[in-house]
């Protein structure tokens, strides 16, 4: 099963589609070259980085999903006035200062300005304060809410939680993803790695089939990226709203005709750590724009 040269095939397909069906010419396969992601003409984000040693050569370099998107989508992320996610990040910032729960506290009561949270997102997920669990940012937020504020935990994919994680991610924009995968995190990372390479579902597809072996190629109209999560939570044009990391994982697993894991599950937290580690060195883009 020899593959024809990628460009030739893409061109042939595009010409066939345009000539015979009159449909829009499909996007060609590869990530864009020679473009920089500069937000508001001032913040340059790293969208290509050397592959980390722990990938053992699995990827030639690591690339942001931004490089795989259409011109118009990429442009939306380059100006905060055009980025639809910013509305939600603003709502998250408002929540930061809103008191809730029996203790009459807000996040700001203990943490001060949300800008104090710069760096937090870049190290997520990480081992819990008690040292016996791996926590995503959502777990840290809910831990504060339940133990310090006397407030109800937010649902993993609730609007409040996504708005808050958007506001928090934004504080780390431009910092390199830098998750710990050694010490107590090591078994979680190993578990995440195992999940990444497991061919789930009736379609028997692993994350690696699409996002390692075929990034740059097309599955129908979907241009496959490396599946990096440095841009999350993302604003998804398809659903016109924010999407969490775990919700995106769930969608991918569902599309392999598999029984999914739940957002917040140990499996998805382990996978989050492993996938984050595959993007080590890329900038936190939170909050990005994707199709």
């Amino acid at each position: 099963m020899q593959k024809a040269p990628r460009m030739a095939r893409a061109l042939a397909g595009a010409l066939a589609a345009a000539a015979l069906a009159g449909s829009a010419i499909q996007a060609s396969a590869d990530p864009v070259e020679g473009v920089d992601l500069v937000v508001n003409n001032e913040i340059t984000l790293t969208t290509r980085a050397p592959a980390p040693a722990h990938l053992d050569g699995a990827l030639p370099e690591v690339m942001s999903g931004w490089l795989f998107r259409e011109d118009a989508t990429r442009a939306m992320q380059m100006d905060d006035f055009d980025n639809p996610a910013m509305v939600f990040a603003d709502m998250g910032r408002d929540l930061w200062g809103t008191t809730d729960g029996a203790e009459g506290k807000s996040c700001a009561s203990c943490h001060g300005n949300i800008e104090e949270m710069r760096g937090v997102r870049a190290h997520m997920p990480r081992i819990s304060p008690a040292g016996d669990d791996l926590w995503s940012m959502e777990n840290f937020v809910n831990n504060c809410r339940t133990t310090r504020m006397g407030a109800e935990a937010w649902g993993w994919d609730s609007n409040e939680m996504m708005n808050m994680t958007a506001a928090l991610s934004l504080q780390s924009r431009g910092l390199p993803v830098d998750v710990a995968i050694d010490g107590p995190a090591a078994p979680w990372w190993e578990k995440g790695r195992e999940i990444y390479y497991t061919r789930f579902g009736q379609l028997e597809l692993a994350c690696s089939n699409c996002h390692q072996d075929h990034f740059g190629d097309m599955i129908r109209a979907d241009h496959l990226s490396q599946g990096q999560i440095n841009g999350f939570p993302v604003y998804r044009l398809k659903t016109a709203g924010l999407v969490s990391i775990h919700n995106r994982f769930k969608g991918c697993v569902r599309d392999t005709r598999a029984e999914t894991f739940k957002p917040g599950s140990a499996e998805f937290r382990a996978l989050e750590l492993y996938v984050a580690s595959r993007g080590q060195g890329l900038s936190v883009e939170g909050v990005s724009v994707r199709p």
Partner: protein
């Protein structure tokens, strides 16, 4: 009595004729090979999975339809230009029938991993051996009697269309 007999005789003939007609019109019970009963030879399957020959027209429709074959998700099929956004994960299917025999192509549709070790291509006529199989695209657990993605006749239909690609 004679009169009655005369009346009855033609009636008896009619009943026999009707029985014959029904036998012809009734849908035949087709033999179908279950996934577990397939005879493999080096990744190929010589015997058709059903008694009813494949229909290339139906096959073409299956190959372009998302919840069914959706072959165009990963393969370019120049003969199906109406199917937009054809993928490029696998090889283009033009000329498939010149590269492989009918038995080989049947085997590749049923379970390509028996021909190409570790292939990304899903097995379209397989019902067990999955990890966390789901109930189609719902994200929920699969039922105990998980059907294959394509049924036996659909496999033969897709094969019939592939065999036109010379």
């Amino acid at each position: 009595m004679r009169r009655i007999a005369t009346l009855c005789a033609p009636a008896a003939v009619s009943a026999a004729a009707i029985t014959t007609a029904l036998t012809i019109l009734a849908p035949p019970v087709l033999a179908e090979t279950a996934p577990a009963a397939i005879a493999w030879q080096d990744g190929a399957i010589a015997a058709p999975l059903t008694d009813s020959p494949g229909d290339a027209g139906r096959g073409a429709e299956l190959m372009a339809t998302r919840p069914l074959g959706n072959c165009v998700a990963c393969h370019e099929i120049a003969a199906l230009p109406a199917a937009s956004f054809q993928g490029n994960i696998g090889p283009a299917l033009e000329g498939a029938a010149t590269r492989y025999s009918e038995a080989q192509l049947r085997g590749i549709i049923v379970n390509a991993k028996n021909t190409f070790d570790g292939s990304m291509m899903p097995a379209f006529y397989k019902t067990d051996g999955f990890i966390r199989p789901g109930d189609a695209y719902t994200g929920k657990a699969a039922p105990a009697d998980l059907p294959p993605i394509l049924d036996a006749q659909q496999v033969e239909d897709v094969l019939a269309f592939l065999m036109t690609m010379k």
